[in-house]
């Protein structure tokens, strides 16, 4: 009997999913808004570089002012964090399109009755979401990095900061894996767009406020805000902490953050598996 492996099917599923998302006009509107801050940063770096040529002394003053554009690891780290909040809405829409509308007109049955199993279906969709996340966070960050290097003193900057590239890619992969799993789990349980949007928005706005309020009041007097373990409730912040490790930046609560992210991913995987099995029997 032929093997029951179907690794070949993952890329077609991902490709089709992304194709479906790109065909929606609303996606490009949301994508344009998501790229707004990238364009501003791109322009700022460009202005800064030209300024360094014409008025060197002015440039020193401005770079001291604009600390977060000094080309170090934190520049890109903060950029990717800012992109995250804007990406959140885009992902809610993409999630409901690439996974949600499979359940609307029997698409799920189309996949399941082929020579694949639901594991490969989930992996394909996850790859699609992951690539979207990379498209919005990692690729723009890499563009900014190379722009910064090319416009500035090229050789020296690249040689010195080349590990930033690994930082950007590492943080991007971390984001796409964890957010991808979480979104896929949420969408398979709640394919209808309205409740999905509210829940997903709540996750990214609610939890940060919850964790900052709890941290601020329940922490000991000496422990400053960022070290209180209540901050671990804010998933977005955990990703930021673990991501900054890739850039060699040490932030408190690192191990706590890793554990939280790991449990969230594990929980999402089991949620996806049980839901898809239920849908397969149900439809």
């Amino acid at each position: 009997m032929a093997t029951s492996l179907a690794w070949f099917s993952i890329w077609p599923i991902a490709r089709t999913a992304m194709l479906l998302v790109f065909r929606r006009k609303l996606f490009w509107l949301l994508f344009a808004v998501a790229m707004l801050s990238f364009i501003f940063t791109f322009g700022a770096i460009y202005l800064l570089a030209t300024l360094k040529q014409e008025l060197p002394q002015m440039a020193r003053f401005i770079t001291s002012m604009l600390k977060d554009l000094d080309g170090s690891g934190t520049t890109y780290l903060n950029f990717m964090k800012l992109q995250g909040t804007v990406m959140m809405i885009l992902l809610a829409f993409a999630g409901s399109v690439l996974a949600g509308n499979d359940h609307s007109r029997g698409g799920f049955m189309f996949y399941m009755s082929r020579r694949i199993s639901l594991v490969y279906y989930a992996l394909g969709k996850l790859l699609a979401i992951g690539l979207l996340v990379l498209l919005i966070t990692t690729i723009p960050a890499l563009v900014l990095f190379f722009e910064y290097g090319l416009l500035g003193d090229m050789a020296e900057y690249f040689r010195e900061n080349f590990q930033i590239v690994f930082g950007i890619i590492g943080y991007g992969l971390l984001l796409s894996l964890s957010i991808g799993l979480l979104l896929l789990a949420l969408v398979s349980w709640m394919p209808r767009p309205v409740p999905l949007v509210i829940l997903w928005g709540g996750l990214f706005v609610f939890l940060p406020i919850l964790s900052s309020v709890l941290a601020e009041t329940l922490r000991d007097s000496e422990v400053n805000l960022e070290e209180s373990s209540w901050r671990l409730l804010d998933l977005w912040n955990n990703l930021y902490i673990v991501g900054s490790k890739f850039f060699g930046v040490e932030l408190p609560l690192f191990y706590g953050a890793i554990i939280v992210i790991f449990t969230v991913c594990l929980f999402s995987i089991t949620a996806i598996f049980f839901r898809l099995r239920y849908l397969q029997h149900q439809s």
């Binding site: 029951s4 070949f8 099917s9 089709t16 029997g106 698409g107 189309f110 009755s113 020579r115």
Partner: protein
């Protein structure tokens, strides 16, 4: 060659409802019709054959290997056309069929080439780049069939392929299924509640009722006609001549039962009767006879006899109930 599929005391329960209740069946290659009311268990049986549903107990073997172990591998050799829509809105025709091929292990290039061939065969040439949500019901059924056939499966499972089709679509679909049924070495399972379609396409029929196999056998076995029973149809100027004609028929020894439709009756005559008698009596009663045909039992009558739906039912002909039915023995 082993059987196409063998099912042994299959039971499947949704909570307390028995979707399938002790089904035992073994069928060889060929085109099989699966007939039954909505909810008789047809779709459940198909999903179990596909390995999408873990049946409660019993063993199911397809192409000789157990479905619960090799469901993914087996699905590579089976094509399934679902009853519910089963399309992905947003894709166009070629991409949809191409994807179906790729998901069955074909490379992208071969899948797309095969898709182009199939679409032209199924008359969807000009619709190949149109989005699926703009397809009419008939085109959706044909594109789903194309997606089912793209990887050249040995067994095709069709769940209500003709529902929602207009007459041309239905006639075209049935002709297509007929040609598919004749492909050497390939078989086809055609599940529907439209009884007429089975006679066109299949050579073997399974009648299901409330999760059980009510009857299963070769189609021609089931459909032998009864001698000297006729269905007559006539037109007349006024209704009085109607009764005159019927009375005349009864007098000359025919047993007449009126059918619901106006101007139609089922007549059982003795062997001595000559056909001219119908015309002679009609002429005397000033009635023009426009239809006289020996009553072939069609599947509908067999179905109604076995399932017992119609109120005034002619006597049930004994169908051999299959404990283990060796169908093509």
């Amino acid at each position: 060659m082993s059987h196409l599929f063998e099912i042994d005391s299959l039971v499947h329960r949704y909570g307390s409802i028995f979707a399938l209740n002790e089904v035992s069946l073994s069928v060889d290659q060929g085109s099989i019709g699966l007939v039954g009311q909505n909810g008789a268990g047809k779709s459940t049986l198909i999903k179990i054959l596909l390995g999408l549903l873990k049946h409660t107990n019993g063993t199911v073997k397809v192409f000789g290997s157990d479905i619960s172990q090799h469901s993914v591998g087996l699905r590579g050799r089976i094509g399934y056309m679902p009853e519910r829509e089963g399309i992905i809105p947003g894709l166009n025709g070629i991409e949809y069929v191409g994807l179906s091929g790729e998901l069955n292990g074909m490379s992208r290039k071969i899948a797309l080439r095969r898709a182009h061939e199939l679409l032209s065969q199924l008359g969807l040439d000009e619709a190949r780049y149109r989005r699926l949500e703009n397809y009419s019901a008939g085109m959706i059924q044909r594109i789903k069939l194309a997606a089912t056939l793209v990887h050249d499966p040995d067994l095709i499972l069709l769940d209500e392929p003709t529902s929602g089709l207009d007459p041309d679509g239905r006639a075209a679909m049935l002709a297509l299924l007929k040609s598919l049924a004749q492909r050497p070495g390939k078989s086809l399972l055609f599940s529907t509640h439209l009884l007429g379609d089975i006679e066109h396409v299949c050579n073997h029929a399974i009648i299901m009722e409330k999760g059980k196999i009510a009857a299963s056998g070769a189609l021609d076995l089931m459909l032998e006609s009864q001698l000297n029973t006729f269905l007559i149809r006539w037109k007349n100027k006024n209704s009085s001549s109607n009764d005159v004609y019927l009375a005349a028929l009864k007098q000359s020894g025919a047993e007449v039962s009126l059918s619901e439709e106006f101007g139609q009756a089922r007549v059982v005559v003795t062997d001595a009767w000559s056909k001219q008698q119908f015309f002679k009596l009609a002429k005397e009663a000033h009635v023009t006879l426009i239809g006289l045909e020996p009553e072939e039992i069609d599947l509908r009558t067999v179905y109604q006899r076995v399932v017992g739906y119609k109120k005034n039912l002619p006597p049930v002909i004994s169908l051999k109930k299959p404990e283990v039915s060796e169908v093509n023995s």
